[in-house]
């Protein structure tokens, strides 16, 4: 379970998160939607401490962490917390000097100190799961965007994280490659992987989310099941946003 309590984050004078409270049960998929600048990506990046919040707390499994802006976090604390989370980036951020297989092995051997044989076995199984077993020895530049992103998902999965975070995983993809990535994510959701997804893919959100969170200007405006948010919302700002998105597609 992820439990976020009164989370605040500012960049200089600009307050991006203004007190976020959120609980995501184990095995569930939460989708965060909202206009750009709403703070949804920052919230996601706070969950694996790529941004360190100024105030509030995050509890992940049995590990709890309190933030205080007058107290600088030790890098040891950051690293030990991060090990429980996996992140999938908008621009994939695969390691270009390593093959697909090596990308998935790297964290296992360097961070988790698994043996090379174990890491390779697991990496092969994960590449198979995302449908790329025949691309294991290719370098990122030899793969399409969709394939790179699926390697990115396998790389994150290899660390056995308690939660997978997706930061607009399909935004940089050509339209015809979006489907293959969403399919992998759907499969993971069905297998009860705990996931937090920031996305603009509303149909995907409707289909996959257990919980939809609508954010605007640094606060959560509304959260609920897909039906509650997409079909039956009474909230003016949510309606406005959904109409805008609908008219665009």
């Amino acid at each position: 379970m992820i439990h976020i309590n009164n989370l605040h984050k500012s960049f200089g004078q600009l307050e991006v998160l203004k007190g976020i409270d959120l609980t995501i049960p184990t095995g569930k998929t939460a989708v965060i939607i909202g206009p750009s600048g709403s703070g949804k990506t920052t919230l996601l990046r706070c969950l694996n401490l790529l941004e360190v919040p100024n105030q509030g707390s995050i509890k992940l499994g049995d590990q709890s962490i309190n933030f205080d802006q007058n107290h600088k976090m030790k890098s040891k604390e950051l690293v030990s917390f991060r090990k429980n989370t996996g992140m999938v980036f908008q621009s994939y951020n695969l390691f270009p000097h390593l093959t697909a297989l090596e990308n998935v092995m790297e964290g296992q051997t360097t961070v988790l100190k698994r043996s090379k044989a174990d890491a390779e076995k697991k990496a092969k199984a994960l590449l198979d799961k995302v449908g790329l077993s025949d691309r294991a020895d290719m370098y990122p530049h030899q793969l399409s965007g969709g394939q790179q992103q699926r390697v990115g998902i396998a790389r994150a999965m290899a660390m056995d994280p308690k939660v997978l975070l997706f930061d607009e995983p399909t935004s940089a993809l050509d339209p015809e490659l979006v489907g293959e990535v969403l399919k992998v994510m759907k499969d993971l959701s069905k297998e009860n992987m705990t996931m937090v997804i920031v996305t603009h893919e509303m149909n995907f959100a409707k289909e996959v989310a257990d919980q939809v969170i609508f954010m605007d200007q640094g606060v959560i405006i509304e959260k609920g099941t897909p039906e509650e948010v997409f079909e039956n919302t009474q909230n003016q700002r949510t309606l406005q946003f959904l109409n805008k998105v609908a008219s665009r597609s």
Partner: protein
């Protein structure tokens, strides 16, 4: 015409007699001096680059000061201070070690800036990806950033290597009998400076050409392995 023929024969004779002695000086002194100082300079440069990137202000300041001094003063002056200046403080160095120290310190300063720039050129997303799989800063540096930074720094380091080959001719000024010094000696003995120095230039050209060939090979090997 007969006089001209004699002169041509004499020059050809001098050039062929001097070619191997000059080449030998190059192989015995220029090449080792280049290789030793380049490797030592690289090691020094690597640590200076890390110091320049460090958050610790004092370390950073020391590194910055060092780079400022050695980039801001002529190499020739640095060599003279080391070889002709230090004896007055009781420190006397042999010519070859003095040259090694001077070139290393000078190359270290320049190469550290190349390495620093290469490390800074790796996109932030690579750091974040490394952190996201639980790496510490030093693990990320070692496993993800440095391997890519090496590729980025190869062309500028290759250039600096080739310029070092030629810069070693300054060691002649402190009596190291490297390629250029040997050429000077022969030019003085034969009174044929034009032809001897052209020969010297030609031998330097051979060295640089061979070295750039290896540089290109190395670059091709490391190609494609850097994040855009």
């Amino acid at each position: 015409m007969i006089a001209d023929q004699e002169r041509v024969d004499r020059i050809i004779g001098i050039l062929s007699d001097s070619f191997f002695p000059i080449l030998k000086a190059g192989i015995e002194f220029t090449i080792p001096l280049t290789l030793i100082t380049f490797v030592l300079g690289l090691i020094l440069a690597f640590f200076v680059a890390l110091a320049r990137l460090s958050n610790m202000k004092s370390i950073n300041a020391v590194a910055k000061f060092y780079v400022w001094i050695f980039r801001g003063t002529p190499l020739l002056v640095q060599i003279f201070i080391l070889f002709y200046g230090l004896p007055s403080m009781g420190i006397t160095l042999d010519p070859f070690p003095a040259a090694v120290i001077a070139f290393t310190l000078n190359k270290g300063a320049y190469s550290s800036e190349i390495i620093r720039a290469a490390i800074l050129s790796i996109p932030k997303g690579q750091w974040e990806a490394a952190f996201s799989i639980g790496m510490t800063k030093s693990q990320a540096m070692r496993r993800i950033i440095i391997p890519q930074a090496i590729r980025v720094s190869l062309p500028p380091l290759g250039n600096s290597f080739i310029s070092l080959v030629k810069d070693t001719s300054l060691a002649a000024t402190i009596t190291v009998t490297e390629l250029f010094q040997k050429g000077q000696q022969i030019a003085a003995a034969t009174y044929e400076p034009l032809w001897i120095y052209i020969e010297v230039a030609f031998i330097y050209l051979i060295f640089s050409t061979v070295l750039s060939y290896f540089q290109t090979k190395l670059e091709v090997r490391f190609e494609r392995s850097v994040a855009k």
